[in-house]
């Protein structure tokens, strides 16, 4: 039965997407189909209530606001300034300014709890600049898609909150536990880019001419507005003035001020930025609504839960259990988003994880790194949708560009298994055990 459900669902989804049906509509259709075929639930009512409750959501409001912030910044000289200021310092680094994608996502992840918002905001600033400077498109897309998943791991993080609530784990501890693995992923991504850039010269443009140190410093002044912006937004959270969601609004206000001061703000840029953000937000919002309908469908059918308990019945030891779960999460990650996977499986998985003697705090971090991968695997990967919406490039091409980063996350999981202290040491050191 589960096999039939999986084949029908995935088959219908791939088929409808190949037909050229919009992603949101394809998800909606597949969810409607599977509810009708495999459950006795009144389908229409579930569709309406899933659509309503997933979009009438306060934490989700950070998404349009952060996208809007990206739209404002990209319409100003600020993004060019950011790269001008960084270029002289990074010219010797193999991979050059592509690292801005990775570090930019890492920094922005400390502001935003979502991966899609990180992808949209950083990408809106970096993609046009990197393209203009002649960087390879697939390297740009790959680093952006991969690094934006850090939004989930580096605190604040919506998915760690969801896990913390359903596993009754301390959210404060989980947040701290995400920091070191987050930095490790950044290091892995940067290391990969350096190696790639060293071996294939055509991925990055020729290094810009060397300039004297004093001139470097002068150019660095151009970084000041962006740095102030970042400090302001992060500061508003850590000074206790804004919740992580409200910080998005602070970000827009500060962006408008900075852009206004630099003389780039006009009614037209304001309006175009707003409408651009609204369109992207509506595209993602409809996918969110449809995806939550599919999640509800999967909840009623019980496919994720059955898969999880099937693994549980195998009576595996801890490393084998983790390996098997990783495969299940990768499969589920193709059709569901990360938060949904956590919601649908935690109740079943947690008891077996604890029975195998695995620390639930460590498991939360493992889980987030694993479901991060779902953001960049087709057919349903939110980061892929964001980048397609932003650049018009095809989803499959973006997914191919992101594939090495998928593999790097697998490496990260391996490292987490071998060195569990990567996740558990810092929270123990900071909060006591």
């Amino acid at each position: 039965m589960d096999a039939i459900v999986a084949i029908v669902t995935l088959g219908a989804l791939v088929g409808l997407l190949a037909m050229g049906l919009w992603v949101s509509l394809a998800l909606l259709a597949v969810a409607a189909l599977s509810v009708t075929l495999f459950t006795h639930v009144p389908m229409g009512q579930l569709m309406a209530s899933a659509g309503w409750s997933s979009t009438a959501s306060y934490p989700l409001t950070a998404l349009p606001l952060f996208i809007w912030m990206g739209e404002i910044l990209t319409r100003s000289r600020l993004s060019a300034y950011l790269f001008d200021g960084l270029a002289p310092w990074m010219r010797r680094l193999p991979g050059g300014l592509v690292h801005v994608n990775i570090i930019g996502c890492g920094v922005f992840a400390a502001v935003s709890g979502s991966s899609a918002a990180t992808c949209a905001t950083v990408g809106r600033m970096s993609v046009p600049e990197l393209k203009r400077r002649g960087y390879d498109e697939s390297l740009i897309f790959g680093t952006l898609a991969g690094s934006a998943t850090l939004g989930l791991l580096i605190p604040p993080s919506i998915i760690l909150i969801v896990y913390g609530v359903s596993a009754e784990q301390s959210i404060a501890r989980l947040f701290i536990a995400g920091v070191v693995p987050g930095l490790m992923l950044i290091a892995l991504f940067m290391g990969y880019v350096m190696i790639r850039a060293t071996f294939s010269q055509n991925l990055v443009p020729a290094p810009e001419p060397a300039i004297p140190f004093a001139q470097k410093l002068v150019l660095s002044r151009r970084l000041i507005p962006v740095v102030m912006l970042i400090v302001g937004v992060i500061g508003s959270i850590y000074a206790g003035l804004a919740s992580p969601t409200d910080a998005a609004a602070v970000g827009i206000l500060l962006s408008l001020i900075v852009v206004g001061l630099s003389g780039d703000l006009s009614w037209a840029t304001f309006r175009d930025g707003l409408y651009g953000a609204v369109r992207t937000n509506c595209m993602i919002g409809l996918i969110v609504a449809a995806a939550s309908f599919l999640t509800a469908a999967m909840g009623f059918i019980g496919l994720p839960a059955n898969l999880a308990s099937w693994i549980g019945q195998m009576g595996l030891n801890a490393p084998a259990l983790i390996a098997a779960l990783t495969l299940v999460f990768i499969f589920l990650g193709c059709i569901l988003d990360g938060v949904s996977i956590v919601i649908l499986t935690t109740a079943i998985i947690l008891p077996m994880v604890q029975a195998a003697g695995i620390d639930p705090l460590w498991f939360g971090i493992y889980l987030v790194v694993t479901v991060e991968m779902s953001q960049i695997t087709p057919p349903v990967g939110f980061n892929l949708f964001v980048i397609q919406g932003m650049t018009g490039a095809n989803i499959l091409r973006i997914a191919r560009a992101a594939f090495p980063f998928f593999l790097l996350m697998l490496v990260a999981i391996f490292l987490l298994v071998v060195f569990p202290g990567l996740a558990t040491w810092l929270p123990g050191a900071m909060l006591g055990s």
Binding site: L21, S24, L25, A48, Y58, P64, G240, V278
Partner: protein, 181 residues
């Protein structure tokens, strides 16, 4: 008819944008009130404790309204993502047939969604469902924009199907093809 429909799409998208602005304003007010409290306490005065009542819930309502009111405009702008790999390699009569099929079935699906959402709103009204937060709001009120937006999306998809049937260019322009690649 053309001008009427275009005006409807534009109006809906304008309302969607307005709701995003409203979210921004509410949040900034909330952060501002917090700042006032902090400032008062630093000066050793008692905090006035102002806040936007039920602001998180209202932001959620505005977001849902904004998303659904804006989806038709996003469709017209070619912002909804899709995979155009197969469409791109098809001979053009077949590609056209696929375009017609997909937009017609999308129209039916969203039409059905509209009816279900309307039923949900109707039930909220009949049973007197109320919001959860500090301010008591009948739930059907924030659900109206959702129904309205879905109805306009249905119209936009019917509009698009007719466009393809007439073999005319889609509203997002012919150059960038299918809203993708």
């Amino acid at each position: 008819m053309r001008r009427f429909l275009d005006a409807v799409y534009r109006m809906a998208e304008f309302l969607a944008a307005l709701q995003v602005v409203a979210i921004l304003v509410i949040m900034l007010l909330q952060v501002g009130f917090g700042l006032v409290d902090r400032f008062a306490q630093t000066l050793g005065k008692s905090a006035p404790g102002l806040s936007v009542p039920a602001y998180a819930e209202f932001c959620g309502f505005l977001l849902a309204g904004s998303i659904f009111l804006g989806i038709a405009g996003a469709l017209r702008a070619g912002a909804h993502v899709r995979v155009t790999l197969v469409l791109g390699v098809m001979p053009s009569p077949l590609a056209r047939a696929m375009q017609i099929t997909t937009s017609a079935s999308a129209c039916i699906l969203i039409g059905y969604f509209t009816i279900c959402a309307a039923e949900m709103g109707l039930q909220s009204w009949q049973f007197g469902d109320r919001s959860l937060g500090t301010v008591s709001v009948p739930m059907w009120i924030p659900q109206v924009p959702m129904v309205l937006g879905l109805a306009i999306m249905t119209a936009a998809l019917a509009d698009l199907t007719l466009t393809f049937l007439r073999n005319a260019a889609p509203p997002w322009g012919e150059t960038d093809g299918y809203g993708g690649e």
